[in-house]
């Protein structure tokens, strides 16, 4: 899981973000503590704390005095829009760079994506090509 090249605390923050995006930690639910993160990922607690603080600064987590860290309302939307804006940079550009190296143009790549996304057998459910719809977030207040 832990890889070189990205600061460790950023990776920890992204792990927590992933849990929020996939809904395994709901908004307003308690987030894992610094020490829990440190023990789970086997990293220095100071590094975990740095990751958590980064999420606090971003408004993804907030602190309840004496209790711990909680997921801010609206955190999931915030993270989704951030990830979507990063999607091109992180995934599409490397894809195009590799394609260029082996002589494929953007149109070829687009075709390949379309083909890969199509069901291979009738039993496989269709993969949505549109971005996943947002959950209704009626609990949002602020």
């Amino acid at each position: 899981m832990i890889e070189e090249g990205k600061p460790l605390f950023v990776q920890i923050a992204e792990e927590v973000e992933d849990s929020i995006i996939d809904g395994s930690i709901a908004e307003e639910a308690q987030a894992p503590s610094t020490n829990e993160l440190a023990a789970f990922y086997r990293i220095n607690p100071a590094t975990a704390a740095k990751g958590v603080n980064m999420l606090v600064d971003k408004g993804v987590l907030y602190k309840r005095r004496g209790i711990g860290m909680f997921v801010s309302p609206g955190a999931r939307d915030l993270l989704l829009s951030e990830r979507r804006s990063l999607f091109a940079l992180r995934y599409v550009q490397p894809l195009l760079a590799e394609a260029r190296k082996i002589g494929l143009g953007p149109a070829d790549v687009a075709d390949l994506i379309r083909v890969s996304a199509e069901p291979t057998t009738p039993t496989t459910p269709t993969t949505p090509t549109t971005p996943p719809t947002l959950e209704p977030s009626d609990r949002r207040t602020s």
Partner: protein
């Protein structure tokens, strides 16, 4: 910043070797340090002097603001686990732990018992009959359970298998999280400990060549692979600390960070960028004198300038 140890102009000369060459550094409170360097670089000498087990030739050491030499008040707050620790001849692990309990005011017997269990350490066998790994386990248990405010582990893992080392790392982290304290961990297994340590202190040939946060150290160098001529052009002016080549393909490690634009430019030129692990970085920077040594020495000065 809240240093618990302050070292100034520390020099230690043995008959014909200079083990420590005018080193100065601080150790911050409640921080886990990786104290790294090659064999004979001066790690053990430095730790011996900090714990007053050895005396400096010149220079100053302050621990908790005082000179540690013959100072029971300071010494009782420290624990030094040596790789080659000697024990009394008739002593068993039980004796060693009973002694440690007498002398370390924050000794936690419960933790010691748990660790004895986890390491499956035979308590009643004399220590001289223990295996190398069991001997190391005795030291590790004393180091963890003493909960000293400053704990030095000098290559504590010799003979410990991967499972036992993982127990040590996990226990160190867990206990540190609950009872923050200062730890200096000297190790050659840099990859294994790199996620545990908050700061790195690297010593080479008796001099401190790195003293910075682990995060900063990780970003200090980058590796680039690709067409040799392209790389040479792209990296002009950079400090190269390692190069290898295979035909026309070169792999070059250089110091300094890249901004996003530079990154994109290199990638666009068909070069592959890869991060340099802490272990690789330290291996490169403490390698035997290479033709690049002078460039390195120059970069040391700038590094120090930055980290002060």
């Amino acid at each position: 910043m809240n240093p618990v140890i302050e070292v100034r102009n520390l020099t230690k000369r043995y008959k014909d070797t200079l083990a420590l060459d005018n080193v100065s550094f601080d150790i911050q409170k409640d921080t886990i340090y990786g104290f790294l360097g090659r064999n004979g670089a001066g790690k053990t000498t430095a730790m011996s002097i900090l714990t007053a087990q050895n005396l400096p030739t010149s220079g100053q050491v302050r621990v908790f603001g005082e000179n540690p030499y013959e100072n029971a008040r300071v010494l009782s707050r420290m624990c030094f686990v040596r790789e080659s620790q000697k024990y009394p001849d008739d002593a068993t692990p039980r004796h060693a732990f009973a002694s440690a309990r007498l002398f370390f005011p924050r000794w936690d017997q419960e933790l010691a018992d748990e660790l004895i269990d986890e390491f499956q350490l035979p308590l009643k066998r004399t220590i001289k009959k223990l295996s190398r790994g069991q001997l190391s386990a005795v030291g590790v248990i004393i180091g963890l359970a003493s909960r000293a405010e400053i704990t030095f582990f000098d290559e504590p893992y010799l003979g410990l298998d991967a499972v036992a080392r993982q127990i040590f790392y996990d226990r160190l982290l867990a206990d540190y999280a609950e009872h923050p304290r200062t730890v200096l961990l000297s190790s050659h297994l840099i990859d294994e400990v790199s996620n545990l340590i908050e700061r790195v202190l690297v010593i080479d040939a008796g001099r401190i060549i790195m003293d910075e946060s682990t995060d900063d150290a990780r970003e200090q160098a980058t590796n680039v692979v690709g067409d040799a001529a392209t790389i040479e052009r792209a990296l002009q002016g950079r400090e190269v600390i390692h190069r290898e080549s295979l035909g026309r393909v070169a792999s070059i490690t250089f110091l300094g960070r890249l901004d996003d634009a530079e990154r994109a430019a290199l990638t666009a030129a068909g070069l592959e960028l890869a991060p340099v692990s802490l272990q690789q970085l330290i291996v490169r920077r403490t390698q035997q004198r290479t033709p690049h040594h002078d460039a390195l020495a120059a970069s040391d000065v700038t590094q120090e300038g930055v980290s002060r």
